[in-house]
């Protein structure tokens, strides 16, 4: 954790308690609700860049003016976790965030018109994208996530470099934070592995999947133990 840049996933794994308020706020647009004062002064954990930390440390300062505290409210977002399903293996190479964002926007325009597009465009981004597993995390404002979710089944193809591959989006989870989506994704992938294990035909496959299942739970145990150690280290500040 000595690298200089801020890495959200690592940060979560290492500081579950410290991350509860500050990191989540930092991930969600850097705005914090000031109504509840921070229980203890926030100090940046190691590897947490000073630039990202600045607005939060200011927010947690007890001398923050009361008027500003009532006026500022956090913008609430919804994160939609989907998977890209395609028969064509070549589709995988055109899963990019720009292409996917355009396809989703196009579907919203078709289904909900200019009004729907304008509603969903506020803070709409592709937050996370894994071309290998076809996992996509979309973000939009809380007010308009129903418009987005209803338009997702209407994405029919991805288009890049003049080529068009048929595909569809399957919504897995809708969450309020990236963290809940990440938790869900880990749980989901684990159940998928178990399902694969049940459908195994020969012994070799079975062993392979058992190995991957064990490895996935093992890494998490390691990270959890790492959590506690790190927490002990940071509790002293």
């Amino acid at each position: 954790m000595t690298s200089g840049h801020f890495h959200p996933q690592r940060f979560w794994l290492r500081h579950p308690r410290a991350a509860r308020g500050s990191a989540r706020a930092a991930m969600e647009g850097g705005r914090v609700a000031l109504s509840s004062p921070c229980p203890r002064p926030c100090t940046p954990p190691i590897g947490y860049s000073a630039r990202r930390h600045l607005p939060i440390s200011r927010a947690c300062r007890p001398s923050a003016p009361r008027a500003a505290a009532t006026a500022m409210v956090r913008f609430k977002n919804r994160y939609v976790l989907c998977e890209v399903i395609s028969e064509d293996p070549r589709c995988r190479q055109c899963i990019e965030d720009r292409v996917l964002g355009l396809a989703v926007r196009d579907a919203i325009t078709r289904v909900h018109g200019d009004y729907g597009l304008a509603c969903c465009s506020i803070s709409f981004t592709v937050k996370y994208l894994n071309a290998y597993t076809g996992t996509v995390l979309l973000r939009c404002r809380k007010d308009s996530y129903r418009l987005l979710c209803s338009a997702l089944p209407f994405v029919r193809h991805l288009e890049s470099r003049g080529q068009r591959y048929p595909c569809s989006l399957n919504t897995l989870h809708v969450g309020g934070t990236i963290r809940t989506c990440q938790k869900f994704l880990i749980q989901y992938n684990r159940t998928q592995l178990l399902r694969l294990l049940q459908n195994c035909t020969n012994e070799e496959e079975r062993q392979c999947i058992q190995k991957s299942l064990l490895s996935c739970s093992l890494t998490e145990e390691q990270s959890e133990s790492g959590d506690e150690e790190d927490d002990d280290g940071t509790e002293t500040d």
Partner: protein, 122 residues
């Protein structure tokens, strides 16, 4: 001696439909839409602003007068705001400027039979 020939009805829940009296404003000397084209225009406006979901709203043209370009539309209550906003933001008919004026709106068709704003008082 004769029983009252009328009865009073009170509608507690929200009405199922809303009715709008609208007028289409077109520049002089242009082609005037007939009833079918008028309905098409309304659906186009809905599709532009609210997409396929808007275009699928149950909207009916109850009456249409080609001479005055005024019509009475019936729309399901949940779609009233969508229809109204789509009509307001429509700007072109066959590449020429046009505008919809919503003159009256009511959950009761009977309320559109008269307009107090058009009364000539002496």
């Amino acid at each position: 001696m004769a029983a009252a020939a009328f009865e009073r009805r009170v509608l507690q829940s929200a009405a199922e439909h809303h009715y709008l009296r609208v007028r289409l404003e077109l520049p002089d000397g242009g082609a005037r839409p007939n009833a079918a084209q008028f309905k098409q225009l309304v659906v186009t406006a809905l599709r532009e602003l609210h997409g396929e979901v808007g275009a699928a709203l149950p909207v009916d043209v109850l009456t249409y007068e080609e001479k005055t370009l005024s019509a009475i539309l019936r729309v399901i209550s949940s779609g009233l705001v969508k229809l109204w906003s789509a009509l307001t933001l429509l700007g072109f008919y066959q590449n020429r400027r046009c505008a919809f004026r919503v003159l009256q709106t009511s959950p009761f068709l009977l309320a559109l039979s008269g307009n107090s704003r058009e009364l000539v008082l002496d």
